[in-house]
């Protein structure tokens, strides 16, 4: 069943929804990356909630003009206008008053949403509004998605992507170093507004599929997921788009298999699943990789310290160290080093002694700063330098026992 859905065999509407959700996911992921890198991810929350009064007003205006209040293009235009107003209010509050951005976000979000709810209740009392179904914009509703709606999503999503491609350099620069961008003659405020404009466009497109409360998730979760996999901004943008598209596609397919599964929440939960998976297994920044790295480091430190102790004839008491030394065949169970252990211990002690000499010598300041107790000195100094240091240390001395 799910397989059929993934292969778009569950009928026309299901296929339309899946493709639309994938396109939306790609646009949202790519756009959200810049917001996330700018550390302003939650601005999208304000923008998305601010669309509600626009939807209500557009409905009222269209009905008042004698048209059908449910015209999707009209509703989306209204939502874009009110999201723009919300964005303007947000930027005005942060620039011209003492409020911090988070307070401004919260204020815009709650007030616009509250006003939108008031308008929704007004619409419910209108004769034309009884079956308006505007509540579906809160959580999205893909059941009655038409070909036109899918086309609107596809075209506007493509436009957003084109804009992202054009604006990627200034947006990246502003995200990483706004001061530097300003010295390069880029208007930080304008670039920020352009980014927000793209976010607004994605929000408006996504109203139909995931609804205004959950579109935030499509803008935040895929970029955060992608960030685990790469440190290069261009790749993060593409990966975020890919994760967004995949979540949209898979989520829509899953929800098509059962009638009672709402599309929006499923898409978000699929995206969250990708996020958790990435956080655990991604190389480099993932939890698993970090744990492995930590364990490996721990083992190296214990081995080194154990070898140094053996070299100086000191008994090793620490359990982990004993276990590591024995497993490597460097020490017998009674704490006496094996032949191989003696060789390795002597090498470790020589290395450590060379390091001491390097660190005591101001001429090797640069090399000394690399000392971490693990690095072999051969990887830092040339053979000539090591020979010079060995001359200073002198040859092997008799050990008095």
């Amino acid at each position: 069943m799910l397989w059929d859905a993934l292969l778009l065999k569950l009928g026309y509407n299901a296929a339309l929804v899946a493709i639309g959700a994938a396109l939306l996911g790609f646009a949202a992921g790519a756009t959200g990356t810049f917001l996330f890198l700018r550390k302003r991810a939650l601005v999208s929350d304000a923008v998305s909630h601010a669309t509600l009064p626009g939807v209500g007003l557009a409905f009222i205006v269209m009905v008042a003009l004698g048209g059908d209040g449910r015209n999707l293009a009209g509703l989306l235009l209204g939502s874009a206008l009110s999201a723009g107003a919300g964005l303007w209010a947000l930027s005005w509050l942060t620039r011209h008053t003492r409020l911090a951005e988070d307070a401004a976000i919260g204020a815009v979000l709650s007030v616009f949403f509250g006003f939108g709810v008031v308008l929704l209740t007004v619409i419910q009392t209108m004769t034309a509004g009884r079956q308006a179904g505007l509540e579906s914009f809160l959580l999205g509703s893909t059941a009655g998605m038409l070909r036109v709606d899918a086309l609107v999503i596809a075209i506007s999503g493509a436009l957003v992507l084109v804009a992202v491609v054009i604006l990627r350099r200034p947006m990246t620069m502003v995200a990483f170093d706004p001061e530097f961008a300003a010295t390069q003659g880029i208007s930080v405020h304008r670039v920020d507004m352009a980014t927000m404009g793209l976010v607004m466009a994605v929000t408006v497109i996504g109203l139909k599929v995931v609804g205004l409360i959950l579109i935030v998730a499509m803008l935040i979760i895929p970029p955060v997921t992608a960030r685990f996999w790469s440190d290069r901004s261009g790749r993060v943008v593409l990966l975020a788009g890919a994760f967004g598209a995949l979540s949209g596609y898979v989520g829509a397919a899953i929800s098509a298999t059962t009638p009672a599964l709402p599309t929006g929440p499923i898409i978000v939960l699929v995206a969250f699943g990708f996020f958790v998976l990435s956080m655990l297994v991604a190389p480099g920044r993932g939890v698993l990789a970090a744990t492995v790295r930590h364990l490996r480091y721990q083992r190296r430190v214990h081995l080194r310290q154990g070898l140094l102790a053996l070299a100086q004839g000191q008994p090793v008491y620490e359990n982990l160290t004993r276990r590591l030394l024995r497993r490597a065949g460097l020490m017998r169970a009674d704490g006496v080093p094996t032949d191989r252990g003696r060789v390795r211990a002597a090498r470790a002690l020589l290395d450590e002694t060379r390091w001491q000499a390097v660190r005591a010598d101001p001429a090797h300041e640069g090399a000394a700063s690399l000392y971490d107790g693990l690095r072999d000195i051969e990887t830092v100094l040339t053979r000539d330098q090591i020979e010079e240091i060995d001359r200073r240390i002198g040859g092997p001395k008799e050990v008095r026992t």
């Binding site: 991810a41 003492r98 709650s110 007030v111 509250g114 009392t125 935040i220």
Partner: protein, 309 residues
């Protein structure tokens, strides 16, 4: 308007709305100053799965399991946010966004999957609350306020919200000095021996309690709006924290009363028949107050910064 109509139909929602508004605005003052204003937003999203799970476990819409479920969900969210922030090394805003949207989606999914059609539990209810339906049918007039028989049938939200407000106010009053010091200068607060981490957590917990109690009575819009708008407006009025808290209480109460009255009677004045959402109107009024304060408040700009047009 006569007492016979006002006391049973309008007095309880007015009082509940006002108590909820003030209970959220009080901790909101500190949250806004500490730049944690969006905690109210996050909490009001994540309580939904908690409430739904509590409903699924008990099978009934009863208050205490739902409050516990909501609190549990809030705690889970705080832990998850911290975990993602630390393990994934992600900035707090994005970590918050990931957690609360995912948990809200989970809540919506559970709600749609479970059979809640027989009871009054849906997403709209969670968002807007049902302030208008909190009526006191046993009251016959002002005299009922002294009538113990009638008082027993007060909507249970009223005493609950009243006690929540008392608790929140007591917390703020009791920890006033440490809260104030740690909000403005955390390093100094630590150096004089204030446990800032525990205090910050306690503030979030108190905010969560206020949010959950208010959420149950009036829906999440009021919660988010009241955490932020009255304190933010009050911030434009003064540079003194004591005065700011006072203003925020005034603003919260004015928003609640004016919003309720406008929602209930405004459409009638304009010739329409039906009332509009009180919760939405209260949030709208608080926004209008914020705009006025941001435009004309004596302390609206950042200290030292030149006033821009």
């Amino acid at each position: 308007m006569s007492g016979e109509e006002f006391v049973p139909l309008s007095l309880p929602p007015l009082l509940i709305g006002t108590f909820a508004a003030i209970a959220c605005a009080l901790p909101g003052n500190f949250l806004v100053l500490r730049r944690q204003a969006l905690i109210g937003d996050a909490i009001s999203h994540v309580v939904l799965p908690g409430i739904v799970v509590a409903f699924l476990l008990t099978g009934a819409v009863s208050t205490w399991p739902m409050m516990l479920g909501a609190m549990g969900a809030a705690v889970v969210a705080v832990v998850l946010i911290e975990l993602i922030r630390r393990l994934g090394r992600i900035e707090p805003g994005a970590a918050m966004g990931v957690v609360f949207t995912a948990m809200f989606a989970g809540g919506v999914l559970l709600l749609e999957q479970s059979d809640t059609s027989s009871v009054h539990l849906d997403v709209q209810h969670a968002l807007y609350g049902n302030l208008e339906s909190l009526i006191w049918l046993d009251a016959t007039g002002w005299g009922s306020l002294l009538d113990t028989d009638a008082l027993r049938y007060l909507p249970p939200e009223l005493p609950r919200m009243g006690f929540t407000l008392l608790g929140v106010a007591a917390f703020i009053l009791l920890f006033w000095r440490p809260l104030k010091i740690s909000t403005f200068d955390e390093g100094f607060a630590r150096s004089v021996g204030i446990p800032t981490a525990a205090l910050g957590l306690a503030l979030v917990v108190v905010a969560a309690i206020a949010a959950v109690a208010a959420f149950d009575a009036v829906g999440s819009i009021i919660v988010i709006a009241m955490f932020i708008c009255p304190p933010a407006a009050a911030r434009m009025m003064t540079n003194r924290l004591e005065v700011q808290v006072g203003w925020s209480v005034v603003f919260a109460a004015v928003s609640a009363v004016l919003g309720y009255v406008l929602a209930g009677y405004g459409p009638l004045w304009l010739g329409a028949d039906d009332a509009v959402s009180a919760a939405g109107m209260i949030a709208t009024v608080s926004g209008v107050i914020l705009v006025l304060a941001a435009r004309f408040g004596p302390c609206r700009t950042r200290a030292g910064a030149p006033a821009e047009g």
